[in-house]
Symmetry: C2
Subunit: 272 residues, 2 copies
């Protein structure tokens, strides 16, 4: 099983606490040893850290865990490879530019060996994962449909739902996180949960490491933070398990739109 971690907030927030638990699953308490990565939006810019080493043993992951980078949109991934070798170019999240915005994508699932989208050269994969193939196909189709200008939010959401359906319906598992820094999309095909933290803030305790935090000490009453993960990261809070076959749009730390896809599957494996 590979795993996803995302964060969407209304104020720039650091992800050190959540990443501490998530990092441990990459080769320490779990088996995701085939690379990891994280991308932080900072204004229009993106900091992307990727590594083909296990996150639990990566000096770069140690830096990320200890150096608070404040961001409103974060996407992270720990990898257990089945499609695509263990190489840097196959580490998630992937990044491309569309409409003068950076887009970030990470995927958990398996789209099957038969998943071979047609590329017209607008975006081409650098590595050989089904995940990067799906990402490049999404951006190609978005640019084909909307041209060189970003569409209004509603149209963008509808088109991403349509593309999700197209890729997922025939091709098994397609759990993903996708963001351009303004919008944060999360699709649950098999496993994805989230929590929205807002005032009154409470204490939280990680499942994977003996670490706890009192969010009341590090937040203001106006803060709102959504954390999205393949499996809940804390054991004393109530996480929402997303229904299989659901695409959610997060903004300012909460779900603002969701739509049912038919991509939900019972299969509970992961391979990217």
């Amino acid at each position: 099983m590979c795993e996803l971690l995302g964060m969407n907030c209304n104020v720039p927030t650091d992800i050190c606490f959540s990443f501490t638990g998530f990092q441990a699953r990459g080769g320490l308490v779990d088996e995701h040893q085939d690379g990891w990565g994280i991308a932080f939006f900072e204004g229009k810019g993106v900091r992307q850290f990727i590594d083909s080493k296990a996150s639990a043993h990566s000096p770069i992951a140690e830096l990320v865990r200890n150096y608070p980078i404040h961001s409103k949109n974060v996407i992270s991934h720990i990898r257990k490879a089945t499609q695509g070798e263990v190489r840097l170019e196959n580490a998630h999240p992937f990044m491309r530019e569309l409409w003068g915005q950076y887009w970030i994508f990470a995927h958990n699932g398996d789209l099957g060996k038969e998943f071979k989208p047609k590329f017209d050269g607008t975006y081409l994969p650098v590595g050989n994962t089904d995940s990067e193939y799906a990402f490049c196909y999404f951006l190609q189709e978005l640019k084909k449909k909307f041209g060189t200008q970003a569409p209004p939010q509603g149209k963008l959401f509808d088109e991403i739902a349509r593309l999700t359906l197209e890729v997922a319906v025939n091709h098994a598992e397609f759990n993903f996180l996708l963001s351009n820094g303004d919008h944060f999309f999360a699709h649950c095909s098999t496993n994805l949960s989230y929590i929205v933290r807002r005032a009154p803030f409470t204490q939280a305790k990680l499942k994977d490491k003996d670490v706890q935090i009192d969010f009341g000490q590090v937040t203001t009453d106006k803060d709102q933070v959504a954390v999205i993960a393949t499996y809940p990261l804390t054991n004393n809070e109530t996480w929402t398990t997303m229904d299989r076959g659901t695409l959610c749009l997060f903004q300012e730390g909460d779900v603002v739109a969701q739509v049912k896809t038919v991509a939900g599957k019972e299969k509970d494996e992961c391979a990217n």
Copy 2:
């Protein structure tokens, strides 16, 4: 003055020694305090670290200096802003994908306020530096000319020389480093020097920090490493000062092609 640092080698090599001196120029012994960045090719993949803080005071730069990342092509930049605010999206090097390869670009110079290339939407700048504008224009024109397949090396070199001339001839200073992991281009408009290190290897001593290294202890007889920098980084070796108005192609740690451009200028300022 902003500054450039690049490395091109025939075996994956770490840049810790050179970066130690270069990093010190970013806010310690020099004035380049408006961000820094570095990108390492690793196979087809790229690790990119960028920061809007001064390199001398950046925890990420400390990691890069102390964590040996082995690469055959590295591009780094320390920034003193004049065009484009001090923001993450304006930090060099910039990255895009073309022909299923990542391309990395960093620029030192000033293309003037009148430099406004026409974009057709193939590649759009995310920030607002003249440097990212030039990079997006290069890739757009390369894709327009050669389509979705990379051309042979000679044709690629000729077209990059032509584009360099087009951008530089009317627009002042255009020192740049550009690589797709296979080819490493360096253009000197005002200031750029390089050194090719090969057997017999000797000791080298940094100009900007009291650090020296005996390359004989950390290399084999077959290694060949070209280091390219705005100004020489060591004070006991002979660096080649590139002629103003010269585009060089480095491969496997040496210059394999060069061409005269008419972009050389006497002006000795920097602004990106």
